[in-house]
Every structure is written in C-alpha cells, then in structure tokens.
C-alpha cells in the first residue's frame, strides 16, 4: 500500500470563505434562474427570490473581502499568479493530464503544497474569476440592487441594459462554472477527497 501523507493546505479563513462563497453562489444561481425565468420556474415567489438574491449577493461580497483580506495580509495572494516563464510548458502538461493521463492512471504533474496549491490552469482560471469576473459581477449586482441610487454610474457605464447584460452573461458563466468546479473536485485520489479536504483543511497525498 502506498504511503499516505496529510498536508495542511486550506487554513481556516480560506475554508470559511470557500463555504460561505459556495452557499452564496448556489443561492444566487437558484434565485437568479427564478428571477430571470419567473414564467417558467415556480420555486418561490419572485419578490422572495429577489430578496434572497440580494442577501446572498451581499453574503458573497462579504466573503470576497474575507478572502481578499486573508490573502493580502498573509502575502499568499501570489499563489494566484502563474509564473509566466514556465506557464506554457506547465499548462500543456496539465492539459495533457486532464485530457489523457488521468484516464490511464498517471500521476498529476502538479503536486499540491501550501505555498503552491493551484496548478497553472487553476491559477489562470481563478486569477480571472477572483480579480475580474467576480468583482464585475459584484459591482453590476450592487448597481442592479439600487438602480435609482446608482443611476449616475449606470448612465456613465452606458445604461442599465449594459449592466444587466454583463450581470446575466457572468451569471450564466458562474452557473456553468459551478457544475464544472464540482466535477473537477471529484478528480482527487478518491471522488470525495478534495471535498473532505475543504472541511478538514488537510489534503491527502499518495
């Protein structure tokens, strides 16, 4: 039997942020569908869906600042920035693993450590999500929350239709991402290994 090694990868604040964020995003996706397709879905009253969507939105915004404060104050924010010198080579190797090697049982070319927990594809994806998509979604969401109050900014950005389009497109992206993210989390040494690690903080290395 292979030797099993437990490494503390996900500190408490990161786990708290992750699950708060996860609950918020799931609530936002469900209520988002209800709000956009009120004539097709009947999960809850439209006004309740809007209220819940607003609360969940502010929950995700709060969680974002927990994440930002933790990573900035500890200096660990650098784990989100890929090394450009080795990026292409590592990205090709990682893509080959996900598209071919994983089916043959080959080892993951990226070994997770507390200082380098993301592979380059994760780094690139999360960099875009945490620094562009999520802030854009949060800002557009706040504008849509108080259209009248933020009307000057909305006019400045081209109108409510533009803000809504950004919010809706990113909404669909996050909904699709949620599906893919949950699936990718099953690619550990067992299907539930990464889920378990996000509760305990410890990843098991084989």
């Amino acid at each position: 039997m292979k030797e099993e090694k437990r490494i503390y990868i996900h500190p408490g604040p990161v786990r708290a942020w992750h699950w708060l964020n996860a609950a918020g995003i799931i609530a936002l996706v469900i209520t988002g569908f209800q709000i956009r397709y009120a004539e097709l879905l009947n999960l809850m009253q439209l006004k309740d869906a809007i209220t819940l969507h607003n609360y969940a939105g502010f929950g995700v915004i709060s969680a974002y600042f927990i994440w930002l404060f933790y990573y900035m104050s500890t200096g660990k924010i650098t784990i989100y920035f890929p090394d450009l010198a080795t990026f292409t080579d590592k990205a090709v190797r990682q893509a080959k693993f996900y598209g071919y090697g994983i089916f043959r049982g080959e080892p993951n070319p990226h070994v997770m450590t507390p200082e380098n927990k993301f592979n380059v594809l994760q780094q690139k994806a999360y960099l875009g999500i945490m620094f562009v998509l999520l802030p854009a979604q949060m800002i557009s969401g706040v504008f849509l929350w108080k259209v009248k109050g933020y009307s000057d900014y909305i006019y400045l950005l081209g109108g409510i239709r533009i803000i809504d389009t950004i919010h809706v497109l990113f909404f669909f992206f996050f909904a699709a991402f949620l599906v893919v993210h949950c699936y990718l989390a099953t690619l550990g040494h067992t299907p539930l290994a990464h889920f378990k690690a996000m509760f305990t903080g410890y990843e098991e290395h084989h």
Binding site: I35, E39, R104, A175
Partner: protein, 384 residues
C-alpha cells in the same frame, strides 16, 4: 388626437343657437372677460366668517388669466359660467355681482364616463367615513391640463402623492423607488386600465426631457413629417432599425438624447376606478417574458398644452441595445442572452459528462496499469 369635446363645428353651432333661443340670454352673454374684471385681482378674497355654520378661512378668489388660458377647458371653448352654471346674471349694482356662495361645480355634467368610474372607486366610498374627495382634489380648479405628456412621477405628484405617502405603503414591494420612478400608480392600482410604455427624449447634457416641439425643431421637420421620415418600410410601426436611425439623426445634430421609458396608463375614464384590494401584487404579471404589459410601446412627442402625439414602436425595441436605459427584470429580457447562457451551461455540462464517461470507460485500463505498476515494484523489491 383625442379631444374632450370632439364635436364637429356644425353641431356646436346648433347647440349654441339652441341656448340662444331657449336659455336665459343673460347667461350666454357673460364673457370670461367680465369675470376676470374682478377675479384677476390678486387681492380678491372671500373673508372668513364668525358664523359657526359657515365658518371658513379666508379664501383667495383670484384666477390667473394667463394660466387659465392654457387650461384644457379654455382651449376647448369652455367659459367660466359653463362650469359655474348657477351664475346666470351679473348685477354690478351689488358689491358682489352674483351669488356669494356658489354651488359646487359638477364636473360629471361633461365628464360622465369619468364620473361613473369614480363612483365605483374607493375615493367615492370614503364618503361613508365622512371624507369627501372631489375631482379638484387631484385635478385642481382652473388650470386643469392634459396629463398625457406628464411623466409617471409628475402624474403621481399631481394626484396620488398629494394624499398618500407612497413610500410608507409599499414596503412589500421590492425596489419600490425604481417602481415609483418608472411606473405610474394606476398601472398597478387599476389593472384593467389600458397602458403603454412611453418613450420620451431625455437630454444627457442638461438632464431634462425634450418636448416634442424641441425634437421637431432639432430635426428641422414638422409633426406631419415625423413618422414618414422614420417609418422607412411604411408599416406604421417604428422598428429597431428605424429607432436606431432616429438616435443617429439626433447624434448628427449634436444632440445626446437617450430614450427614457416609463409605463403609464392611457387617458381613459377607467383610471378613476381605484379600489382597495384590486391592485396588482403578482410580480410575474410584468416580470415575465410573455407579459402583456410591454405589448404597447409608443414614442411620444409632448405638446406644450399637455397633450402628446403617440407613435407606435415595435416591442422588440425594448429587448434590444437600442434602448439602453430601460430594463424590466424578466419582462424585457434579451433572448440572445438566453441563447448564449444556454450554450454556456450546455457546454459546461457536456464537458463534465464527456470527461466522466471516459473516466468510467477507462476504469479497466487504470486498474490494469495499477496492477502492472504493483507487479513491477514487487519484482524490484524481490530482485533486491
């Protein structure tokens, strides 16, 4: 354009002759100018009285002739004594040349439909509680104007908001300030009232709405040329392309106007039939893709007298980038975004299902590789 008294001139002449023959000559002879002889004096007041039965505060009897001349009644040839019909003669020998206590004006004499609708409204029913609400409470007395050109907010301020604190009574309504800004009260409170989306021109530079005359002047055309100029395919409806052409024309004239959209009720008698408990509370009525509330869309050229010319607009304009400053959640959503969203979701699910399928199919291969790996490591250990 709808007029309150669309009588052909010949019928009007017959009515006038009938009055001359059968009615008191003196009444027909009282001209507005005679009334204004006294009532254009700003210092003209009815004095308060100490009599308990007739106690009242001092009441100003001044009427601004200039403002009255722009009223809908004056514009339709209605004189002072047509409403104050209990004044039949003027006796200038008296201090007050007519009765000092006039009867209340009965608007229903002319506005029969409005009166019928009002009688079946909560505003009539409150008379049972001792509160008398008259037409003038909302419409005022001498300066009544058409309301077609008014914005949703102006309509509210001119009527409902005079008595009702709308902000306090709509706590259940999500985004109530947005609703107040874009939806006229009666759209929800009289769901049977015909309504449409009003599109008016808003100047980004000066933050004010353009009047119809201003827009026509900018375009250098007359009212009669407006639709022929815009409606290129002659279907009497302004479609998305024609709408964008209008915006381009204004830009070429260096006018940065955006289209301001509101949902307002049409000027129909039924808007007076407001009743408790009858208000629309189901959000889905508006906020769904098939909502009937967005079927009628009109571009509006307002007139100085409060009337407005309406030009039919294709509903598709509401669901396009041509109208960037209006969006009703769900109700005017862009179908293109739904298609893109579907592709994103379907793509995500397809990747997951495809990868998962290959993972399942290749389980034997991985087991085999794992076994071989175990065997080779065992052989290595044995050879040592």
């Amino acid at each position: 354009m709808k007029k309150i008294f669309p009588l052909p001139s010949s019928i009007g002449l017959v009515v006038m002759l009938a009055c001359l023959v059968s009615g008191p000559f003196a009444r027909a002879a009282i001209e507005n100018s005679e009334c204004f002889g006294c009532h254009n004096d700003e210092s003209l007041f009815r004095s308060g009285t100490d009599c308990v039965n007739h106690s009242r505060m001092n009441e100003q009897l001044y009427v601004d002739e200039e403002k009255f001349s722009h009223s809908v009644h004056h514009n339709n040839g209605i004189g002072c004594v047509d409403c104050h019909s209990d004044i039949t003669t003027l006796n200038y020998k008296k201090n007050v040349p007519h009765k000092s206590q006039l009867e209340a004006v009965n608007c229903a004499m002319c506005h029969e439909e409005e009166s019928t609708a009002f009688k079946d409204s909560v505003h009539m029913k409150i008379r049972g509680k001792g509160i008398t609400m008259t037409c003038s409470a909302c419409h005022g007395y001498h300066y009544v104007k058409h309301q077609e050109s008014l914005s949703a907010k102006e309509r509210a301020n001119n009527s409902c908001a005079k008595c009702h604190n709308t902000s306090r009574s709509h706590d259940w309504l999500p985004k109530k300030n947005e609703h107040f800004a874009f939806v006229e009260c009666v759209v929800c409170h009289v769901p049977e009232a015909p309504r449409h989306i009003h599109l008016t021109f808003f100047d980004m530079m000066s933050s004010k709405l353009y009047s119809g005359q201003e827009i026509l002047k900018i375009l250098g055309i007359t009212e009669d040329d407006f639709m022929p100029m815009l409606d290129m395919n002659k279907d009497a409806t302004i479609n998305v392309d024609e709408f964008e052409n209008l915006e381009l024309m204004l830009r070429q004239k260096n006018v940065h106007a955006i289209f301001h959209a509101e949902m307002v009720a049409e000027m129909h008698a039924i808007v007076h039939q407001v009743n408790r408990g009858a208000a629309l509370r189901d959000c889905k009525t508006c906020h769904s893709a098939d909502s009937p509330y967005f079927k009628a869309v009109t571009l509006v050229l307002t007139r100085d007298d409060g009337q407005a010319d309406h030009y039919q607009v294709d509903r598709a304009v509401l669901e396009s980038f041509s109208l960037r400053h209006f969006y009703a959640l769900g109700g005017t959503r862009m179908k293109l975004l739904d298609k893109i969203g579907f592709l994103l979701l379907a793509g995500g699910c397809a990747v997951v299902l495809g990868h998962l399928s290959v993972r399942i199919v290749t389980i034997p291969l991985r087991r085999k590789n794992e076994d071989e790996s175990k065997e080779s490591s065992l052989l290595k250990e044995v050879s040592r």
